[in-house]
Symmetry: C2
Subunit: 220 residues, 2 copies
């Protein structure tokens, strides 16, 4: 084999991966799967895709070996093939934020319209947890919390927040986190909490980024 054929084959194989990533729905699916294994139905619901279309996208990801599947009963659970997949998504998102003012603007507008300004870094959160001055809540859907969450975090899904307000301490800062830097669930929770007189802030990152840093988690 000559050098050109070799290069064509190598870059061709790598492009199989980038082609699998080259779709907004599939990016959203990857971020969702970073929260933990999910059924097709759950993925379709969360991403607002039809079942058939979600299935088709999942198979595109599968044939590029970016996701793995496991069948349990009637359900087929999809998950990220390995840590590298999330790392690519992570650096991709960083690149997007660095090069695309539009994305930054979208996020800023969406967030500031919700008044939730303060965001806490993972280092700051660890300090405050040590001092006992912070209380961490996970505002993702319960299924995602159950698949894995920050150690010491309590599950308070968005739609249960109002009902669970009384269980939250007023003498500590409530730190809410969700799926990642692009996810708005934590911002929405912080907005509600602040309105109700709680001290609240969002965690800058989400569960998968926390886990990637090797920080303390509970998984099932």
């Amino acid at each position: 084999m000559n050098v050109r054929d070799f290069k064509n084959k190598v870059y061709g194989e790598l492009a199989v991966i980038t082609k699998a990533l080259a779709n907004p729905h599939r990016l959203e699916i990857i971020e969702l799967l970073a929260q933990g294994p999910s059924s097709v139905e759950y993925i379709a619901d969360e991403t607002a895709l039809s079942i058939a279309n979600a299935s088709q996208h999942l198979q595109t990801l599968k044939s590029a070996r970016l996701v793995a599947t496991e069948k349990r009963g009637k359900y087929r659970y999809y998950s990220l093939a390995n840590r590298h997949v999330f790392e690519v998504w992570n650096s991709m998102r960083e690149l997007g934020l660095s090069r695309n003012a539009e994305v930054e603007r979208l996020i800023r507008d969406f967030r500031t319209s919700r008044k939730a300004m303060e965001s806490v870094t993972s280092g700051e959160l660890l300090n405050r947890l040590e001092k006992g001055s912070a209380f961490v809540i996970d505002v993702r859907p319960r299924k995602e919390y159950e698949a894995g969450h920050i150690a010491s975090a309590v599950s308070v899904p968005q739609d249960e927040l109002i009902r669970k307000l009384k269980s939250l301490p007023k003498d500590k800062q409530i730190v809410a986190y969700c799926r990642g830097p692009l996810c708005a669930m934590a911002d929405e929770a912080v907005e509600i909490l602040q309105e109700k007189g709680y001290r609240a802030a969002r965690l800058e990152i989400g569960y998968p980024e926390w886990e990637l840093k090797g920080l303390a988690v509970n998984v099932t």
Copy 2:
């Protein structure tokens, strides 16, 4: 704006980037540009594309803001927009090697057919340079060496290797490097050197990875 519209816009913007990456030629161009700024003609030559086609791919990359251009005289020089672009390529390549046995096999076959087995890590090279037991050669085309190279490396482009043999020490290990882990130029140089009785090995990584690690370089 509701949450779904927000998500559609954010993932849509990020997919602009992944779509720009979703082509084997554009991946090859990115790896080439990681060596330093290049003219369209140089890129077309190195990637075996027609000028018009290379130009078209470069504009795809440009409209996704992955590359920047600068015009000097008759030539337009393209370069990577920032460090994040190379980082994405880097983690993409890692993912490819982890998930795609085909890529690994291709590289292994291509290399072992050239008998060049030993590869040296950057840490090992630094040690040997300190002890004075290694001599580093950069086997990329001279233009790429001139744009930036490992500190203390000497330029010995592939096609000049035979002619320059006499200038290489026999009492040190010759460590050859090129564009990166996928690049075969260093393997070919090592093969020739070993045949001629030199102790030689390739550096595991290439110039851009060395530079990303923050190790010593000379740039113009």
